[in-house]
């Protein structure tokens, strides 16, 4: 068992609007083996992600293990819809930042 930063394990870590009211996050792995190990590690679940982002779990509207894409995927309901009053990430495309150095033990 060794602890890695997610950045060292995943090929793609991104966030993006999924319509004006949601932001969806994709963590994509190049290797099936790593994907399966991360999946089994329990490091990335609805609970752990909610904790990382200090958000109630019900803000995460979907959490999917997407085997065809070797990817973990979850979607947050936005606090503010994109581009509306006081909102500051129009495309939702910088919300993945905290995941880069997130630690995973596999």
């Amino acid at each position: 068992m060794k602890t890695y930063k997610l950045n060292e394990l995943a090929k793609t870590i991104r966030s993006k609007n999924a319509g004006p009211d949601n932001i969806t996050f994709d963590i994509i792995f190049a290797e099936k083996d790593i994907y399966e190990k991360v999946k089994k590690s329990g490091a990335i679940t609805k609970e752990t992600i909610a904790r990382l982002y200090s958000a109630p779990e019900n803000k995460i509207v979907t959490f999917v293990e997407y085997d065809p894409g070797n990817a973990l995927k979850f979607t947050f309901q936005r606090n503010k819809s994109n581009g509306t009053l006081g909102e500051s990430d129009l495309f939702g495309c910088q919300q993945y930042g905290p995941l880069i150095n997130y630690e995973v033990t596999i």
Binding site: A18, P20, I28, Y53, T62, N82, G83, T84
Partner: protein, 459 residues
Amino acid sequence: MDKIIKVICPNGHLSYARMEKGSFDLGLQTKLDAICADAGSNDVGPYPLGADSCTSPETWQRYDIENMLLAARKLKIPMIIGSANDCGSNKGVDKFVRIVREIAQEHKLPPFKLATIRCAIDKKHIQSALEKGERIQGLDGRADLTRKDLHNTDGMVAVMGAEPIQRAVETGADIIITSRTSDCCIFASFALARGSSKDMAYYFGKVMECASFCAEPYMGKESIIGTVGKDYVIVEACHPGQRCTPASLAGHAMYERKDPFYEEVAGGTIDMRECRYEQISEKATRVTGQKFIKAKDYYVKLEGAGRIGERRYIIVGIRDPMTVANITKAIDWAKDKVVEQFGKNGKDYHLFYHVYGQNAILGEMEPVKEIKSHELCIAVEAVASTAEKADTIATLGARSIFYARLKTKGTAGGAALLTDEPLVAKPVYNWTMNHIMKIDDPYKHFPITIETVNGEEKK
């Protein structure tokens, strides 16, 4: 269907940045059946729709339309652009038609048949639906549409399905410009008109609409070519440095959608659970197993935006380490000064401090609580009913950081003002509609107009 069709897509969200001509020209060497692109997006926020404006400069729109139009007329194949002018309003269709006409005249193109499709569902239509007690269902956790939502809406569009565009293709139109449509329906409509199954056509649209975003490595605005056969779709990257791979296509299925297995469109759902991806050449991947599940009822999506107020910004910087460490106190002090003159924040005005270096991007979701930067940038944003009031609030909000009473050695001003004059911004809008409404006919609310461009002048 025995015949296979090939379609090139030169750009996802046409003109948000200009298409890259190199890969488009390479793609044009293949024998093609159509050139299609989506020009709309919600990603740009509610302003363009609410103000019936756009976000892409006209010069970029002209560049993309010119490249597509000249290629389509040279090859004598149809060109389809959906969701004209970023928000896909009828005014946006008019603008794209003007650009098409101007380019056609400038290049003295031989006459061609132009079909335009506009949206006839407007606020009055929605009003009468609400009066009849029809349910207009909210998406993504939104409540059902109310009269108040409708009253607060300045601009709206209904998102057409593939059917009206398919009909326009079937009339033999050379060029088709449409109001707001689902991205995938632009491509699906052409495939359906040429006899493809719904299973193949809608998935084809789904995978094509963002152009080179479905290829790897990451490069936007490059062309891709999609092929639709009887029971497969093949996608190929045109840029010499890009490839479509099983991973890149499977990865794209989940891009900007909350569910990687299903996508809802007007009239049904694209089912990608059984998709199989095979690399068939260096740059191309074949996809099989996709399905389309026809819905019992036909729903169209409604998008609406309404004006909140005028907006001004002032940007200030902080370099004093003692102020950086106490920035929250400084902002609280400044907010209180604004409350003294204008009352409670959020009632008759809105004031935001976006503190870059602290948590401007993630807000309350930011896990890093400690400020690690030696300097901070604060965008002070004021929104009020009039420009004059927004000006004053932005000024007071920023200058009160300047005058904030903190324990520090600096006694000549607590903030580096990038500007003292408030920066004039576009008004703020909110999304008032992200809803779906049942309609009884996929065609009748989206009338098609056919005209000849560069034909005989009508007397």
